[in-house]
Symmetry: C2
Subunit: 158 residues, 2 copies
DNA sequence: TATTGTTATACTCTATAACTATA
DNA sequence: TATAGTTATAGAGTATAACAATA
């Protein structure tokens, strides 16, 4: 392992700050407000996931992608259904399972939400050159993947 | 504003994934385990902040940097004090305030924690060239700053 | 009168356990 | 017997309100 370079040490506060901005800055809540539906964070996450996936998902699949336990998804899916933003269909292949599908109202809200967030991101990067953008997107993806891969091996080390 | 480029749209899931890895992957908990103290997340945050700042901080200052409300800091500072990891000193300049200072035991735990996390980061980026590292650090910092700046102006837009 | 920090309380997000229906 | 989802319950993290001491 050896020493950790000073640069890496300097980047740690940045990562923590970014984590804060992403999770605790009210970004989601404010974008949701602009989108005009008073949904809470987990419900928004479900809605956006369904929109970006572009197909109905099973409850367990949603839970796995969100990395949360099943009951969490059940509750918020019910909330979304009460508001008419998703539909729950029987899975013809497996009668134990339920497919969760966006309604057109749900898709509309997801689109407004995504538009707002992407607009903010776009404006934040207004002064960026095309090259810097490309580079950042590429390195961000690589970093996220490498970090997730490293963390996934920790438990098997003992 | 205009259209959001497809690239930006593609990067959104990456950001969400990174937020998940940073906040919900158990990274903090597992590093804390390795560091040998059974502290919870907010307590670790306080400890690390004091260590990286390298000087005693007032309760209000800690709360501001963590972007949390005051009582949250009070509670976790008390927990840290019970364990002998911080000391609470009177602020001679302002008798209303308290300074929170690391003990040597607290500094030791913070160092072990930081060493573990930085080690994981370093290993995750094992295959990275020096140039890519530098570029990533620079762009990450810029992105975080630009995004925080953009979000800070949202409320004043109405 | 405003500010620092504390105490008490409540809300959001998420996990675990126990259960039902199907496989 | 194992799996998909649900219901009920509990815990962690954080906010708000009310208050004390000092400015």
């Amino acid at each position: 392992m050896g020493d950790t370079e000073p640069d890496l040490r300097a980047v740690l506060p940045r990562l923590m700050q970014l984590g804060n901005v992403l999770n605790r800055s009210g970004l989601v809540e404010r974008a949701m407000e602009q989108a005009g539906a008073g949904l809470d964070r987990p419900a928004v996450t479900v809605l956006v996931m369904l929109r970006m996936t572009e197909k109905p998902l099973r409850v367990g699949e949603i839970a796995a992608r969100m990395q949360v336990a099943g009951p969490h998804v059940t509750r918020h899916t019910h909330e979304l259904e009460r508001r008419g933003l998703v539909r729950r269909l029987p899975d013809t292949d497996d009668k134990r399972a339920r497919l969760v599908e966006l309604t057109s109202a749900g898709a509309e809200i997801a689109d407004r939400y995504l538009g707002t967030v992407l607009g903010w991101l776009s404006e934040a990067m207004n002064g960026w050159s095309a090259g810097d953008r490309q580079t950042f997107y590429r390195l961000l993806q690589r970093f996220t993947e490498d970090l997730a891969a490293r963390l996934s091996t920790i438990d098997t080390e003992a």
